[in-house]
């Protein structure tokens, strides 16, 4: 009888403990779910922010390359950095040498001409000043992208210079060939004309010499 009572008590206790454990498990699962969602959101937001910075770098690269090709100003000079600052002013305060204060992305509710808040201040080494809502990964992304873009500006300027030198060299060589041809043709032609004229002159003299000599006395008039 006592054994049966003990078994009953143990069963009741086990059910209670199992229920409590199940509750703890459910609570834990809910918490883990919440954490996972938060982490997913965090990663998604990071990815979006990094994509935005990559796009900014691409914009800088495109604008800078175009300026390097068309402005006639040498990349790397303060004048060129000033041009970049103006070109990038809608999206950031570019302070030169890859130091930038990046504005928050534009939204549909933004009014034209309204200044945008600064999203992150990044220096040349890729350090993102805190506090910032941007992930620190955007620092190296921006700094490397910007320095690589600056190399590209210089490369495009060097390429343009090389191309123009190559073109000049080809043009000069072809022009030299043309000029030599012209001088030789002209010289030979002139010499040929001179010899031809000389020949005609000599020939005329021969013809004149072969003609019977006319008497110098005038023919007498017949008397009527």
């Amino acid at each position: 009888m006592q054994q049966r009572s003990n078994l009953g008590q143990a069963a009741v206790a086990m059910v209670g403990v199992a229920a409590a454990n199940a509750a703890v498990n459910v609570h834990n699962a809910v918490q883990i779910g919440k954490i996972q969602k938060q982490q997913e959101k965090h990663l998604e937001s990071d990815a979006a922010q990094m994509t935005y910075i990559r796009n900014l770098v691409f914009r800088l690269e495109t604008l800078g390359t175009r300026l390097a090709k068309t402005s006639g100003i040498r990349p790397g000079t303060p004048e060129f950095e000033d041009l970049l600052r103006k070109a990038m002013s809608p999206d950031m305060t570019y302070q030169g040498n890859c130091n930038a204060d990046i504005y928050v992305p534009p939204t549909a509710t933004d009014k034209p001409g309204e200044s945008r808040a600064i999203w992150g201040k990044i220096n040349r080494t890729g350090f993102l000043e805190q506090p910032s809502s941007l992930p620190p990964d955007v620092g190296p992304l921006w700094a490397t992208g910007c320095k690589n873009a600056q190399d590209k500006f210089k490369i495009s300027a060097i390429t343009a210079l090389k191309e123009s030198r190559k073109f000049k060299h080809i043009k000069e060589t072809k022009s030299d060939i043309g000029m030599t041809n012209l001088f030789v043709t002209f010289g030979a032609g002139l010499f040929l004309i001179i010899v031809f004229l000389l020949s005609i002159k000599t020939q005329s003299a021969v013809i004149r010499a072969q003609r019977p000599k006319k008497s110098k006395t005038k023919p007498k008039r017949k008397k009527h």
């Binding site: 206790a13 490397t144 030599t180």
Partner: protein, 235 residues
């Protein structure tokens, strides 16, 4: 609950069972009381272990983010190196030579800590005026010495391989550019030779015609001289 357990919960027998066992000897309601107390201990430790696991999960996430950051710094270094190699190559330096590597070192040491010969001191970003934190050192064999707990040790061999590949690719590109320049020069030289040969032919033809005409003129002059002499004797 055992999967979250630690310490007391590591025991193969749960606290509820132990409590029930002890309760047998305590008289009426002893089993129930013992089981409940033991069960409560089980639940408490289980909940504690679960909270600990959640914390661990959060810490792992933060560590993964830090690892991602360090990897990003590493990738950035590689990208900088690729760009700098291209720039130096465009300046006319021949990749693969000690001079080229020396210039690369001068360009990149302050930026990414490149020491030449594919050796690298990987620095993280820092505030202006502050020293940059050293994340890792990679030697010319690709052996990585980590100075940050979040750095991936696989990055050493990866760096070594990528560095060598970049140098090889640069040398190949440089060779192609030289080849292109040589082809242009060859074309120009061919054009020059062709033009010279045309000129020579033209000159020879003209010289022949001129010589013929000169010969004829000399002959005519002699004839003229003879005619004049004959006329003079006739008079």
């Amino acid at each position: 609950m055992r999967e979250f357990s630690g310490g007391f919960e590591d025991s193969p027998v749960s606290a509820a069972t132990i409590g029930a066992g002890v309760g047998i000897f305590l008289g009426p309601l002893g089993v129930l009381g013992g089981s409940l107390v033991g069960g409560a201990i089980d639940v408490f430790f289980g909940a504690k272990a679960a909270a600990k696991a959640r914390k661990k999960m959060k810490r792992a996430f933060v560590a993964a983010l830090l690892k991602r950051y360090d990897t990003q710094v590493f990738i950035s270094s590689l990208e900088r190196m690729a760009s700098a190699i291209l720039y130096l190559e465009n300046l006319g330096l021949r990749p693969g030579t000690p001079k080229f590597d020396d210039y690369l070192k001068r360009t990149l040491y302050s930026e990414i800590g490149y020491k030449g010969n594919c050796e690298l001191d990987l620095y993280g970003p820092s505030k202006k005026g502050e020293p940059r934190p050293l994340l890792a050192q990679i030697d010319h064999r690709g052996v990585l010495t980590a100075h940050s707990p979040n750095i991936d040790l696989d990055l050493g061999p990866k760096w070594n391989e990528a560095c060598k590949e970049l140098h090889k690719a640069a040398l190949k590109e440089w060779g192609e550019e030289q080849k292109e320049n040589m082809l242009i020069e060859r074309d120009l030289s061919k054009e020059k030779q062709l033009s010279q040969s045309i000129l020579t032919t033209k000159l020879l033809v003209n010289a022949g015609v001129i010589l013929l005409m000169l010969g004829y003129t000399i002959k005519t002059k002699r004839k003229l001289k003879k005619l004049r002499a004959a006329r003079a004797t006739a008079q």
